[in-house]
């Protein structure tokens, strides 16, 4: 296990802070009635998109999940564009089509989008990985999905094909213990990580609250994929701090459970570690947070100034 450099740790930290502040901002906009779609907070799970995307190159591909905006933030997507999509105005990456969250994409950054039917990601990830291999590039695909989504048949079909064809994909399951209200143990037989063996590929279960574990496991899997050694399944155990979506009464878990989780905050933990290891001071981390918030505020401002689309937008882009 190679050590992660202080610089990388700081980058991961900044990435997670951006996700957290993004989330806070989105919640505020939601409260203000400025968000024209539902929102699934990613609070608590930042270590996975941060550690799972950081090992990628700009031209590597990303299939992201519906929980928060961490994946695309980490891949470098324009914050203003994402806010624009949140508000369904013309600043959005969808140009105000209001395809909204989370159906935006950026081909330049390898961001391939997201389907509203869970599990859409699997086939598209396999196809993109096939494409990379076909074109003789060494691009890699990372595909994020939840524990609940892992029970879609598309998982089986796509993961099997990718493994049989030794395609460059890294499958990252964020196991936060629930699919909306349904606990993973009630819906899922066995451990998700153990499915890997059935496809003859490596599977690794990690602590998804620790960004260094995620970063290491993903880096290794990306290296394998890039070297032509095929796919890997990573099951990252984690916790969702908030409801499935905003407004979720969370009748399926106790308030104590939710309270207890907050102590596991991946950002606070990394913060403590950075300070303890002398990589950063509280002060410096505080400055970083101010800087990130400032960037986010400017992105909101930029997005807010864009107009809403006109009805003609509906008829654009359906066909080439």
């Amino acid at each position: 296990m190679t050590a992660i450099s202080p610089a990388t740790l700081l980058e991961l930290y900044e990435s997670m802070v951006t996700m957290k502040l993004w989330d806070q901002t989105a919640l505020r906009l939601l409260q203000e009635g400025r968000v024209l779609a539902g929102y699934h907070s990613g609070r608590g799970q930042e270590a996975i998109p941060a550690g799972g995307v950081a090992p990628l190159r700009r031209d590597d591909y990303l299939m992201y999940a519906h929980r928060g905006f961490g994946y695309t933030i980490a891949k470098g997507m324009s914050l203003a564009a994402m806010f624009g999509d949140l508000m369904a105005n013309t600043a959005g990456a969808t140009g105000g089509l209001g395809a909204g969250i989370p159906h935006f994409a950026d081909p330049e950054l390898g961001i391939l989008g997201q389907g509203g039917t869970l599990g859409s990601c699997f086939g598209i990830a396999t196809g993109a990985a096939f494409s990379a291999k076909y074109r003789g590039t060494d691009q890699v695909v990372v595909c994020f999905f939840g524990d609940g989504t892992a029970n879609r048949g598309a998982f089986h079909e796509s993961v099997n094909a990718a493994a049989a064809w030794k395609l460059p994909v890294v499958w990252i399951c964020e196991n936060n213990g629930y699919a909306v209200s349904v606990p993973v143990a009630e819906s899922t037989a066995g451990r998700i990580v153990d499915r890997a063996a059935g496809y003859g590929m490596p599977g690794v279960r990690i602590d998804g609250m620790d960004v260094t574990e995620v970063y290491r496991a993903t880096s290794e899997a990306v290296d394998r994929a890039r070297a032509g050694e095929g796919p890997t399944l990573i099951e990252a155990m984690c916790h969702r701090f908030r409801g499935h979506y905003e407004g979720d009464p969370q009748v399926y878990r106790t308030e104590e459970e939710t309270e207890r989780l907050l102590a596991l905050d991946p950002i606070t933990n990394l913060e403590a570690r950075l300070v303890a290891d002398g990589i950063a001071t509280d002060e410096r981390l505080g400055e970083l947070e101010v800087r990130v918030q400032d960037t986010i505020d400017r992105a909101v401002e930029e997005a807010s100034s864009a107009p809403m689309p006109g009805p003609e937008r509906l008829y654009e882009g359906l066909y080439v």
Partner: protein, 328 residues
Amino acid sequence: MSQATATRTLTFSQAIREALREEMERDERVFVWGEDVAVYGGIYGATAGLLEQFGPGRVIDTPISETMIVGAAVGAAITGLRPVAELQSSGYFGIAMDELYHKAARWRYMHGGVFTVPLVIRLPEGAKGAGPEHDVSPEALFLSASGAYVVIPSDPADALGLMKSAIRDDNPVLFFEHAGLYAYRGEVPGGDHLVPLGEAAVKREGSDVTVIAWSRMVGESLRAAEQLEGEGIDVEVVDPRGLRPLDLDTILESVAKTGRVVIAHEAPKTGGAGGEVAAIIAEEALEYLESPIIRVASADVPIPQSRYLQQFLIPTAASVTEAVRRLD
């Protein structure tokens, strides 16, 4: 059946729940499954309280496995149970399409009629700001699913009565519920309120124009009719309450009376079920037509997630009014 005879005011969602409750009380073979139907009570609340009353053996949370949800419901139905399975959104039809179209609808016929397949699949549909894959109204895709029934209530009373009939029927029923209607309240008859499947309701009588509408568009059409009444146009609103079987008699009778037809549904026009209805009229009742048949429907694009843009796309009472005015 605590309030055996008194009329009640229920939301559409409560009406569905009452139907499930009454039928589960009546028949032990009836059970409910789907995503988040148990503790959570369904994301639209239509199964709230059922877990508490009937326990986890009959109110079952499934994995996110729509293919299994429908396929296994068929397996349960042909072995003596009466499943009511929920797809959390009818937008997931594509994941279970083989099971809906080829298994639920055809297992009986295909095997020579030796089974019955008494099941209900609940399919919440319609625009709600959840994105192009969710906001669909895909009932037309099941017009050709011979072997199945397609049922679509437009108000709480029909939701209750049709659901109860659907559960009691020995044929597979695809039951579409517009998500925008769940919170809508209405009077519901007391007692064992059953509405027969395949019988249209004339929701408003009129002599000048027939508006054939279902689901959310029934309410919109009734509002349009009121408006048009002021302009001296007497609109009849026919709600087929489903597409399979289709109550042709009621539709053709109305057309014969008015000679003018508007068909209104929320699904985009091209490929919507209005095409089938219009074609039947053009084949069976052309002689009565005094004006082209106008279809009122969403524009021919995927329904975008943005509610802002949806306002330019989704038909309303105004769209019906405008269409009626355009008739010759």
